[in-house]
Symmetry: C2
Amino acid sequence: MRADAQRNYSRIVSAASAAIARDGADASLEAIARSAGVGSATLHRHFPSRWSLLEAVFRDRIEGLCVRAEELRTAPDALEALSTWLREVAVYSTTTRGLAASILNAPAEESDSCSTTLISAGDPLRRRAVDEGSVRPDVAMADLMTLVNAISLAAQEAGAAEAERLVTLALEGVRPRGG
Amino acid sequence: MRADAQRNYSRIVSAASAAIARDGADASLEAIARSAGVGSATLHRHFPSRWSLLEAVFRDRIEGLCVRAEELRTAPDALEALSTWLREVAVYSTTTRGLAASILNAPAEESDSCSTTLISAGDPLRRRAVDEGSVRPDVAMADLMTLVNAISLAAQEAGAAEAERLVTLALEGVRPRGG
DNA sequence: AATTAAATGGGGTGGTACCCCGTTTGCTGG
DNA sequence: CCAGCAAACGGGGTACCACCCCATTTAATT
């Protein structure tokens, strides 16, 4: 990769990061290219689809969540660790406008999508909770990720606190504790 | 309302209905106007925002769900009735492309939005389940609708069966039955 | 320094939402 | 029955968007 190409790549990613934080996942690519000081063709060459750009923007956030999952593997209560991590994912997705949409709507054929990465990062937490007996074995990590991202997307307007609350509700279920 | 205005209104709604079924909630308004045989200005005069058009398109579907909620009020098991209804909402939202997005993303200021209607229709089912003791009293109908619609939106690609499965999971929670 | 292939970006194409305003059309009172 | 009027209409304009072509520039290599 040539030096100028690499420079433009980073410029685009950081411009996109700012634009998405301000305008959401459907920010204008044209405007991103303009504010990065490159032509629109350059942006489209580096990132053939909108989602490939979003993935690049969110990659470091995703990696942060993976690290956090690693940390939580040694927490005393496995269910609480899983629940905490999922709530953190929800908060990240809600505050980082467009992350949830990016994860959910990314075309399935993209192999190393954000979703896959998070699922593999979280699965050890789920397995530990299953071994502990506090989570049903038929609950798949992919299902939990779908739920969390769905909630984050839906609660975009309502805010992170609301998203957290709904994640907790979905994990607990609607029945009373003793029922 | 003049006769021609009324006729164009219905034409636009039925053209929109077809277009949305084919292309989803982000179908081109321009194309809808064209296939309805009216100018784009006419469409924009009748429906100032995209959401107002979507609401008109989905109104009868929503009413169908309200009727169904009424029916289920006499079912023997209150929790099952609530759960059944929510799953039916999910199936409707998933199959009717764009309904979930319409309900979730509609601006809050629209008073008689689809969401409000469904919440009031479903609340008796929730109350009955609370009285029965099978649902925690702190669970609000609005929360359940948000969950269901979030799941429907997320499972748009995966299909109605997946949406139903996830709704069931969210209502049950992740814990084992006897836990 | 000359060569070469990669990278660039201005500008074109075809699409979109939304609005202005001259024209047509349905309604109604005489 | 018809004349006048307000309501409704829609063509065409503006401003924006994604995406692509291709002549030009530029970084790396010999």
